[in-house]
């Protein structure tokens, strides 16, 4: 006789939206996926061992191993220890002398920890040389917090010197009203060979921050599921076009942006200072509406003259220009390609926000 038990799973999530859109996976002792559940559901399972997991807004897969016994079982909460990494034992276990690599992310707890984190003393100093389009709100040894100026004419940037290298990085802020609304953080990362910087959407922008963390951690399809529900929310309700653009890029990577083409047109039209919208629209028009190809080419040329926010957008534009130059013998296209292509070797492709090397002392 098969006996069963009941189990309820809750999430520790700061965002109600993200909590509602989180998929909880239940695997049995042979690691077979037996259920997919939403939050606060009571699940009935045969007694035995189970793995309960979900990818949360910090970009990590949180999991608990439980033994379900007959009757009611104690409830489980995923995400209780945000700063404790859910280490993948097989990466360590398979080769104990290989250290685990964890992709950089930026969460609310990291914002607090890094104020005087354990590694901060071992990281060389970095210097903020100049900013465009933002105001520095506060800084620590390894963090710089920026908020947008009220009106933007271009994607904001920060110019920083790390040891003897000068780097310019695009900043994912959106014009907002309060000191933390739609702000961003630049974090100095230790790195194995040399320190580097990454720009992160502030954790207060929970949905957009979650998208960036999921993307950084490699949970692309999870991020796409969240983005599919979030893009209109980000742009219209939260007035966060840079967060919305990130969601659109994620959807583009999984081939799911077409159904949002009208919304992408709004993004490109309403935020002229953010060329990432133009790039996405150009790509959609060229493929899906051949009669609007001249418009697509013009959008790409315009975008090539502006500072771009995301590396993915820069990459997409460069790829498009390389293909289109062969098909359309237009001087403006060739010029746009040459302007961008010269920067490509200096790009840090690991960085989500456009990050290019300027020079070395």
């Amino acid at each position: 006789m098969v006996t069963s038990g009941k189990l309820s799973v809750q999430l520790k999530a700061d965002s109600m939206f993200l909590g509602r859109n989180t998929n909880i996976l239940v695997r049995d002792s042979s690691m077979r996926l037996v259920k997919q559940a939403g939050v606060c559901q009571t699940i009935e399972l045969p007694t035995g061992l189970y793995e309960i997991s979900a990818v949360l807004e910090d970009g990590h897969k949180h999991r608990k191993l439980v033994q379900v016994k007959e009757g009611d079982n104690p409830p489980i909460t995923l995400g209780e220890n945000e700063e404790k990494l859910q280490q993948d034992s097989s990466i360590l276990a398979a080769a104990p002398n290989i250290g685990q690599y964890v992709q950089p992310r930026f969460t609310k707890s990291m914002a607090v920890l890094n104020a005087a984190g354990p590694d901060s003393d071992s990281i060389p100093d970095a210097e903020l040389l100049e900013v465009t389009g933002v105001t520095l709100v506060r800084q620590t040894r390894t963090l710089w917090f920026f908020r947008s100026e009220p009106i933007l004419n271009s994607v904001p940037t920060a110019l920083m010197r790390i040891q003897n290298r000068t780097i310019r990085i695009s900043l994912p802020v959106s014009p907002g009203n309060g000191p933390t609304e739609n702000s961003c953080v630049v974090k100095l990362e230790k790195g194995r060979r040399q320190p580097d910087i990454n720009a992160w959407i502030s954790p207060e922008r929970r949905v957009a921050n979650a998208l960036q963390n999921m993307l950084a951690s490699g949970y692309l399809l999870h991020a796409a599921k969240v983005a599919d529900h979030a893009v209109e929310l980000l742009q219209d309700k939260y007035r966060d076009p840079t967060g919305a653009a990130l969601g659109a890029l994620i959807l583009n990577k999984v081939g799911s942006l077409q159904r949002w083409s009208g919304w992408v047109e709004n993004l490109a039209r309403d935020f002229d200072w953010l060329p990432d919208g133009k790039i996405l629209l150009a790509n959609l028009l060229y493929v899906d509406e051949p009669n609007r190809r001249p418009e697509a080419l013009q959008l790409a040329i315009q975008a090539s003259k502006q500072r771009i926010l995301y590396s993915e957008s820069f990459s997409l534009l460069l790829d498009m220009l390389r293909r289109w130059v062969r098909e359309h013998k237009e001087n403006a296209l060739q010029e746009a390609l040459e302007n961008l292509a010269m920067f490509a070797p200096d790009m840090n492709w690991d960085s989500i926000c456009l990050n290019n090397f300027i020079g070395e002392d």
Partner: protein, 384 residues
Amino acid sequence: MPSIIPEDLNSPGTHALVIGVSEYLHFENGIAPTQTGRDFLMEQLSACARSASEFAAWLLKSYRCERAPLKSLRVLLSPAVGEEIHPDIVVHLNGDFSATLKNVREELAGFRNACDTHTDNVAIVYAAGHGVQLTKHGSIVLLNDFGANHHMNKLEGAIDMAGVHAGMNHPGTAKTQFWFVDACRQKPAIARRFESLTGALKLDELNGETLASPLFLAAGTGKEAFARVNGITLFCEALMWALNGGVAAGPEEDEINKWHIPVTQLIKRLPDRVKALAEKENVVQSVDIAGKIHEAVFHVYKDTPSVDLLVDLLPNAAQPLCFGTLKQNAKHIIIQNFNDWPMQHKVEAGLYLLSIQAGVPYLGRDEILSLVPPKNYTTVNLEG
């Protein structure tokens, strides 16, 4: 040189093209240096051909896809002097199997034609050699005779992986594709020289899109990742770890009723593994994910993978006093009353309950273990 296994185009299958270039004929220290080859200031490699052969051998011996079994395997290798090719591949290599432009052009055409025979086909491409990463989505991989004097354009001896990938991205071909590009990235001063060059091998692009075509673009700076003591590239080492169980996932819905390698696990875990290996060797290497990302299964295991389990017990003084029992699903006894620590056993992947009965002054306890391939080392500490 055609497929190293008899090609079968009568029903859906997996078609693979594997290219590995370690030797460059026309570089400064090549067997026939040319001015073009010298100008690019690049050195010979020593691990790309072997790495490609390792992947090809895995496809030949281990790859499993019931709905699309392996039906052609095209392998082009240009090994360096003394570079060892996998023995399972060596026996099949006859005639001219060098990764020259002419041979790559011919095999690419054959590969494309094979993929076009059924949309239920699966296409797999692996290419390794010197390269230039152009964007997050693509790179140029230089072929064995790059820099030949008879080439009309300077990039003629190179393959534009993004261009070939784009040319295979249409609804009339294999709807499931997997691309692995392992390119030794050049320093910016050299890479910049490639930006304005034309002539790399690519395919015409057709309208529409295929269903799934993830492209794993590994680009490492520095020769170290491509000329390693153990003979395979860093990316290949990570990929073989993944294929031999490192990213295996348990069964899911009815269609995927066995342990398998889903694309989502490759996307999540392969870059992490590459980074971990790179950090250990003090090199820089990253993996970008490009192409059409969609749920897909790369490989299905015939049986549940096994795990080499090792459980150690601390402190050492507790070991004679402790007896361990391992139960699959907390029900089926695998090991009972074990006392000769550490516990070492090969078990099927899954969830287990490890119960430790301890003598005074130690307290025993139960631990749930998630055992995933290939190995699991666990230490149970009874102190405190």
